[in-house]
Amino acid sequence: MSARPVIDDRALDRALAAITSAEAPADLRDGVLRRLQEQDESERAAAGAWSPAAVPWLGRRVGIAAAAASLALALFAWWDWRTPSLVEPQRVATPRVIRPASGPQERVPPPTLASAAPASDTHQRLKKARWFPGQEEELDPLPLLDPIRTREVAPTEMRVTPLEIEAVDVGEALDVQPLEGP
């Protein structure tokens, strides 16, 4: 074959088609679906080997245990709500001793430093003062329970049945814990 062939558009088209017109593999669909499945599995494994979905039997057991724990917690909460607390101290002020006027007369003990001072003065002192251990007698944190003030705010009661009000240690009555010092 001495002469070179003729190249025209048709021949060029045929040659180019021979290069580019390869048939797609028939199992391309299977390959794609397999790759998708593999990716899903690897992602699931990477997301967490401990996930319940990855370990069905473990997931079931964890689910049962969680449900039992929740039920037990709910029952305990209900029991605790219904039962009065025996541990927590009752923060109720100790009732003051009140005796009718017909009984043996007792003098009101001399007022403490706090009660002797005028109410307004006591307030001022309480605003400024800090209550440190050892100062309970000097600083009365609750002026409303001051015996003198009590006598002042309930005059009608005293008129009907004269009462004698005993001064009590307010700090002890209210079970107030002193603040820590600086």
Binding site: R4, A18, T20, P25
Partner: protein, 186 residues
Amino acid sequence: VDDAELVEQARRGDTAAFGELVDRYRTAVHRAALAATGAPDESEDVAQEAFVSAFRHLGAFRGESSFKTWLLAITWRIALTRRKSLWTRLRRFRSSEEAPIVEPRTPGRSQEQQLVDGELVATVRRLVRSLPSKFRDPVMLSATGEYTFDEMAAMLGVPSGTLKWRAMEGRRRLKAKLAALGYESR
């Protein structure tokens, strides 16, 4: 069942519906991958990767173009990434002359003519590789006969008119190279 319905089913996780889409467009995707990479074994891998990527990103398909155009754009992008990788370049360099040639089957042609055709195919393959990619890609894609100019333009990201001109210019350059090799051009 049209593409939109299959896409909707595939979005809901129906892999069988997506398998139907794979069957519909496997040839178009495979040929685009082959046109970009020039290697049959690599094009199969690119095609698989393109379909998998399309399935993963079905939520991003808004239906502004056809599913085929969207799928081909994904394929082309993946194939270009593969083509630019160093490993692919090394492989192509090693096996540049070993790629199998699909003999053109033209009924009525003699054995001698088919031999000549085979020789021409090998020569054209070599010459196409020497073309700049801006001409090579339009020539290869249009030669597949699988895509409209609009689809090719969307794949390559150029206007349709530009793509037509590049395809014609690529063919002209090929002919010129063949003529330089002694082929009589008509």
